[in-house]
Symmetry: C2
Subunit: 491 residues, 2 copies
């Protein structure tokens, strides 16, 4: 199926509607927003058969993977809806008046309020969980913002099905017209028009560095700049510390072969960089990884564009001086991606920024450092990352404080003795990291704290109780956590 | 006294030192950071005589004003220090492992960690509270970030005294070398070099739109963009609602004359725009304001540059078509600013964006709307503001929901029946607002929530208790509020 790109004029109509919807929707209670989100979740479940069939056809992702992703999407809507209703995200603060102070201190009460219409760009690799009814949409609806989704062209039909469900739920529940909209744009014009429109108040994006950075720049070049949350990927370095590696190089290799090839390597948390120190144990690790990789079946990637990008970027990496291929799966089918492990010395890696770039797909490069000092240099020269991982014993950690601190400072999530793939949806999750992993490392794209991306604090000064929003009224009718005169309380 | 601008090379040395200090200082406990801040506060108090004398000489601000500002600065250091130690700002979240889940859920714990060295640009109108040891510095130190202050050239000697105090306290308490630095730069080169330096991680600025926007643009144009928090001023609209105005136009005029002329109008929350509806009451208000203004003594502004800007911008506003002067203080001294009230119709204001611009000083323009519809149009066409104020009865509010919502949506602080000047330092304060009031309305520059500007969340996955930071250990040794498996708790 093919869809016509929206024109600038059509986008203007959509945004005008979203702007009027904003003035109605932001007054919806937390419970009303949560009910809307839960109703969408129910209808996604009710339509799962057609959703899965369409997504399988469009993305080449296997049914179990898509079924898991759809469950995750439903879980996100329900759990962010619950978080919305519980209201902790509002950061409500109340300081009551002190009329006897000089000068008298007025009553001041603060809470988060929605930013305005949010434009969401669907992600190619998550047709459900980071697309039309995905994490960004759920967070924005919870915050009180209308959502305008630009369908990802690689799964526009799935996106349309999901959009139809949301629009049906919105109509059935009398949500304001324009609270959700769905637009198409395979070229860049529609995307640019969306980001630049005066009524767009924030943008959520998951995808390539080039795409995400462009949106960020447009967002900042507007007359009124807006926040653009681009999650642009990462090479997710893994440091193999000496004592840990020596203890069981084969087990680590098995674990990492699985992580590198999970979903044909198409996760933004894929471990694309593995750093060790020259040793017998590192050789054993490399040999075991080679054996493991050879047992992996080549898989079909999301769409031909991603497959081509994988082959091109991998070829560029492998053509760099002093880079070798240490493992490659036998594969004579052009339509399947070949899992590949490259290797290079620490010196080569430090000197060649090309090797720091993400190769999206089943690929990882192993860096052989001469010693701990070189490993530390590698850590210090890494760009911002979604995750960093240490494979380490307590001794490894206690004896290498500078390395641990350097690795910690570049990432959003710091994993010990695990794999970076697998992003748990929970409040403690941080999915985001220093640039270029994301454009704003102060916010997460996963977990209910992501709601805050689409809100800003507003203070009410000297308002009588009956005119304040329920969230800030003296009697706390919603029973939410608030900081009252410096103390957190639910009463 | 005159100070030599720092060269790009000198700034590089300063930033290298700040970067090494960062790696030491961010490991300081919350208590150690708070102790450092409290020690600075004590020494500011101990040196108040010389600080006040120098600041009076440099800024023309009278002693009571400066004494109050110094107390506020000391209060900020102490109260943000206390907030730092209490740790609520860390947003600590713990989700414990669920090994029986499929796939097993790992232990994840999240807290805010410092961004890195923070560059602070001193404000001309607050030589203490928003300069060298001011709000941005206090927030950054609490967050765990080293601070580099660029002295404001208009009070560089005061800034140097404060800097000397901080450096002395840092040395006496063995803080890492480079945790605080002070640089000079009357031109733009030093400022640009500071913002563009690879080790600068965030910027705080209070001043003009032109200056703040330039820093914001530089911050976004870097290879690695950084957050720039520019607080750029505002015209702080005041809406005189009909029932309230009719009840007591004279009292409102008296209150506003005081607010407009407070500290020679040199507050970013100065009410520069007063909007009413043509009526007898509005005439009475205008007459009373005229009388009140005539009793104001002209005052000396901060420095000749600000005085010139006031005269220039006021002249531009008064030269606009259909703008009249309704009150002006008699003043035949060139070195004193003349308090002035202008007036124009709603139509004139709507058609002429020049009248929407801030005239920093004792000036306000009164807009006479034909009716409530025109007042609503004015509200809808206003740019982002630090504050908006309604002078209104409950009836006025209940009968004009659309206006109230439009006014609320453009501001950071929404005041009822008061004046916008006077920014209480407390947790519930929001000092910041939609662009162009500030570059990032998601954060406040006043109150302990401002600490969050200089931090980002980081998650630890699968770390054993003994290797976690104290803030996240099972037993909660610091006794801070944390969200554990979804529930806020202090245990």
């Amino acid at each position: 199926m093919s869809y016509k790109d929206f024109t600038v004029e059509e986008i203007d109509v959509v945004m005008q509607e979203a702007w009027s919807a904003f003035h109605a929707y932001r007054k919806y209670s937390l419970k009303q927003r949560a009910d809307f989100m839960r109703a969408i979740a129910v209808e996604l479940e009710n339509n799962s058969t057609s959703l899965l069939q369409t997504a399988m056809k469009e993305t080449n992702l296997p049914e179990p993977r898509l079924r898991g992703e759809l469950s995750r999407t439903i879980f996100q809507l329900n759990s962010y809806g619950e978080a919305c209703e519980r209201g902790q995200w509002l950061d409500a603060r109340i300081d009551t008046a002190m009329p006897d102070k000089t000068p008298p201190k007025p009553d001041i009460r603060k809470m988060l309020v929605p930013l305005g219409p949010v434009v969401v760009f669907g992600a190619s690799n998550f047709p459900f969980a980071y697309s039309t009814a995905g994490g960004d949409t759920a967070c924005a609806l919870a915050a009180g913002c209308p959502v305008i989704v630009k369908a990802h062209p690689a799964h526009a039909e799935t996106s349309t099905l999901v959009s139809d469900i949301i629009l049906k739920v919105a109509a059935a529940n009398n949500l304001p017209q324009g609270v959700f909209a769905h637009v198409y744009g395979a070229g860049t014009d529609a995307g640019k028009a969306l980001v630049m429109h005066q009524y767009t108040s924030a943008v959520g994006f998951t995808g390539s560095f080039a795409g995400g950075k462009q949106l960020f720049d447009w967002g900042n070049q507007r007359k009124v700049p807006i926040p653009v949350f681009s999650e642009m990927g990462s090479i997710n370095p893994v440091f193999l510390m000496p004592e840990k590696l020596t203890a069981d190089p084969v087990a680590i290799a098995k674990m990492y072969s699985g992580s590198i090839n999970l979903s044909v390597g198409q996760f933004c948390t894929n471990p694309g960089l593995i750093i060790g120190i020259e040793s017998e144990a590192l050789d054993q690790f490399a040999n075991a990884l080679r054996e493991e990789i050879r047992n992996v079946s080549p898989g079909k990637m999301l769409h031909p564009g991603i497959m081509k990008a994988f082959n091109d970027k991998k070829a560029i990496a492998l053509q760099q001086k002093n880079v070798s291929t240490i493992a490659e799966v036998e594969n004579n089918r052009d339509d399947l991606a070949t899992p590949t492990i490259a290797a290079a010395s620490g010196k080569t890696f430090l000197e060649n920024p090309v090797l720091h770039q993400e190769v999206f797909g089943p690929y990882s490069i192993m860096i052989r450092c001469t010693d701990m000092n070189e490993m530390l240099e590698v850590a210090k020269h890494l760009e911002g990352q979604l995750t960093s991982t240490l494979m380490a014993t307590e001794n490894d950690i206690r004896n290498n404080d500078e390395l641990v601190e350097a690795v910690k400072n570049i990432c959003g999530r710091f994993i010990l003795n695990g794999v970076p793939t697998g992003v748990e949806v929970c409040l403690s999750m941080m999915h985001g990291g220093p640039f270029p992993a994301t454009t704003d490392p102060r916010f997460t794209a996963v977990g209910a704290d992501g709601i805050r991306r689409f809100a800003r604090p507003m203070a009410f000064q000297n308002w009588p109780d009956e005119l304040l929003p329920d969230e800030l009224k003296n009697k706390n009718p919603l029973g939410i956590w608030r900081t009252v005169n410096g103390e957190l309380s639910k009463t």
